[in-house]
Subunit: 466 residues, 2 copies
């Protein structure tokens, strides 16, 4: 239940809210550009949160700072952690934009700017909701903590130590993140699992230096050929990964979950066309496309380098060859179990006269989120109220570091409740956010807080009451 005063407030303040969001979008807060823009964005958001009555700190980091805000409203109320990021992707290629990326424009009911959907616009829907509760709803129904990050688009390199250091400031009963998209237009979705990652670099070495392929070809193992054979050997003819034990810890989704995916409006032809391929493929035979992307582990070669890459011909047997290989992992695969198994397997595949070295570059645990939690119920009802459609439960093929870390480090299953649409072009030119998604998103955000207060209401011991 959402007080009518809140929806009225949100409706009456649309113009001002849009102007305020545009002010934020005009700041080119690209994380790895050290021109002060990120600091300006952090400061603007901090001021905004202060106006909403919150206690705010800007916490310096290597690179763009973190913003932490807190508002305590009552010892018996649940505490909600809201996460968002104010940094954006670089806008290149600039030529491809119809309007300038940091000069926000409304066209056809959409707000065009870098960061409009990812993540300033989605984040702003929550700030609007907070203001509505504070100014028209009689105050927030929950204790609120806000954590805004400025390095998400560069992989949150300093997030883990920050969470460790500020654990006490972040502990909460529920967490909400709006940094994703609907499964389809009109069809809200809640994400229930994320794949993990194990990313390695493999180097096969052979002769001391590049050799003349005419003089020595046929007598010496060629590291480029050996590496190609290794990479090829990592899949069987049915698309399965051949690393011994690779599938041992994989948990299948429930029949119900899998059946629900079958009902999703998903066109293989449209999906293939959107990627520019004439046919899908590459995963395990006998699995649907959504299964392959969401609940099956995969192995991809992300890069290859060996020998001569310039124009024309150079007749060498290269001394070494390198491949970057990433594996997407699913619950309950363990990255380090998998990389160990891969390393052992690569050693077995490595023929005499060559050697192989493998380095683990990055790992992330897969995440399986609770689907029947109070926060999930609160989100589901909020989406129904705001978007007039039942949300679908989906998974996501990529890793989202904050979600994994909140679960692992704070035992907190965040609710990924995205307001974007698949057509928003995040990370691409002409990124935009549909204004109707912003308005309805702010209603969903406000309703979520009210629902959460009801679901986790008085009388239940709260983790962060103080």
């Amino acid at each position: 239940m959402l007080p009518k005063a809140i929806t009225d407030f949100l409706t009456q303040n649309r113009n001002r809210h849009l102007a305020e969001l545009c002010e934020l979008l005009a700041i080119p807060s690209i994380a790895n550009v050290s021109d002060g823009a990120c600091e300006r964005a952090a400061k603007l958001l901090a001021e905004y949160l202060k106006h909403l009555g919150m206690t705010v700190r800007i916490i310096p980091s290597v690179g763009p700072p973190n913003v932490l805000a807190e508002l305590h409203t009552g010892a018996h109320r649940p505490t909600l952690l809201l996460y968002g990021h104010y940094d954006v992707q670089p806008p290149d290629p600039l030529d491809a934009w119809q309007s300038q990326p940091f000069n926000p424009q409304v066209r056809g009911g959409c707000l065009y700017a870098r960061g409009a959907t990812d993540d300033k616009g989605q984040l702003f829907a929550h700030l609007m909701a907070i203001e509505a509760w504070q100014k028209a709803g009689g105050g927030l129904p929950v204790n609120l903590k806000v954590f805004l990050e400025g390095q998400e688009e560069i992989g949150s390199p300093h997030l883990e130590p920050f969470l460790a250091s500020y654990r006490n400031d972040l502990v909460a009963d529920a967490a909400i993140i709006s940094d994703s998209e609907f499964f389809a237009e009109g069809l809200p979705s809640l994400t229930t699992a994320l794949r993990g990652l194990a990313y390695v670099e493999v180097v096969v070495s052979g002769p001391r230096q590049d050799l003349h392929s005419g003089i020595h070809g046929g007598a010496v193992r060629n590291p480029a050929n050996v590496l190609a054979a290794m990479v090829a050997a990592l899949h069987d003819a049915h698309g399965r990964v051949t690393i011994p034990g690779f599938y041992n810890d994989v948990v299948e989704p429930s029949p119900e979950e899998r059946a629900s995916w079958e009902r999703l409006p998903f066109s293989k032809a449209d999906y293939a066309a959107s990627l520019g391929v004439t046919a899908l493929g590459g995963g395990e035979e006998g699995r649907s496309v959504l299964e392959r992307r969401w609940s099956r582990p995969t192995l991809d070669c992300n890069g290859l380098v060996a020998g001569y890459a310039g124009a024309g011909a150079k007749t060498i047997i290269p001394a070494a060859a390198m491949a970057k290989i990433s594996m997407r992992l699913v619950p309950h695969q363990q990255p380090h179990t998998i990389t160990s198994a891969l390393e052992t397997y690569l050693r077995q595949l490595c023929p005499a006269g060559t050697s192989v070295k493998m380095e683990v570059l990055t790992t992330a645990n897969p995440v399986l989120l609770a689907t029947d939690s109070p926060a999930m119920r609160a989100a589901r009802a909020a989406l129904v109220l705001a978007f007039e459609n039942e949300p679908v439960l989906v998974r996501h093929g990529a890793s989202v570091p904050i979600v994994e870390m909140l679960q692992r480090m704070l035992k907190l299953d965040a609710v990924p409740m995205g307001f974007g649409l698949p057509s928003d072009n995040p990370h691409s030119p002409n990124e935009h956010f549909r204004l109707d998604q912003l308005w309805r998103g702010s209603i969903a955000a406000a309703a979520f807080m009210g629902n959460l207060a009801e679901e986790m209401g008085q009388g239940q011991g709260k983790k962060s009451s103080r």
Copy 2:
């Protein structure tokens, strides 16, 4: 039979000849450096040939010029074509040289300089022989044509049209080339066959652009994985190339030739150690190392490029992947038959959702040289006389464009009679030429001319008598 006056002359003039060779070696005639050095080297050689009584032309080219010289000594004498090249490899890395590459120095009986063995020194042995015949032997016993090239080290890109244009100036009864090495110290060799080459670039394309490997991994064919599988599929488990028809036209060496290779002083362990590998491998099972290098066709991946090659991790499915692939061909494989078969095979290997394009970058025919020709007999006897050892018949795994072109375009089987040693470091720092090889080489060169005159003496119609 070589007149004693000639060997005496060569012995008496060693100091002057060494000084003259050093003058030539001091010129940094690197083909793709346009600083006039190649032109100076060509001019110095032209002057030298004029002093020997020859009619000389310097013929401009795109890049360093060609030098053509001619001396007609008698209508009934055979005409010999001498080929050499005056350009040298770049000297990098300079730090690794004990003395400066273009400041020739004698140390331990060896002359150190870039080009000392490849090819200025070996070429100069012939010029010394010409002078000895002219000044001490009563004049050359053959008609002589000299063709000196300045672009050999960059692959002789303009050689074929030059040979076509100057065919009449080059036609001869025999050709000699000293631009190779002994099989082992003290063991002269004559090369009887060269492998050919077919070099292609293969590009596998998939999605329109690089894709996020988390979001799409498992649903889309990965061009890097597909390319690796293709490259791997080009060999079977026994090291044989799997391209259909690949071995159809391969001619086996005679049992005698193969048996003679078995008798060569060749240590697999020493060879492996010289290349810095712990074991040999990579060719066909059941074939000796020399067979694999000399008389068996091979396939090597010379370069690989796909996706991300920088430091750290980038989680993409690359839009495309490229491989450079070269095949060494043996008599009587046809490069274009082989590349057609490869292209057809790659198309078969290419799965739905990806496409493959193959471009032929360069080809060279394999060459099988006559072993019982008058010129071969003349060379064999000359080597026995000069080096006091019977030469062995060997093959060479690489292509030598001039040899193939002389055979194809001028129907002339050149005699590759090298004076270098395997320890000379051509193309590497501290390149050198052993002075004893220079002195004996000049005797061999002089004897070769005398022997050729006897083998192809008066009364036999000569191609270029006029």
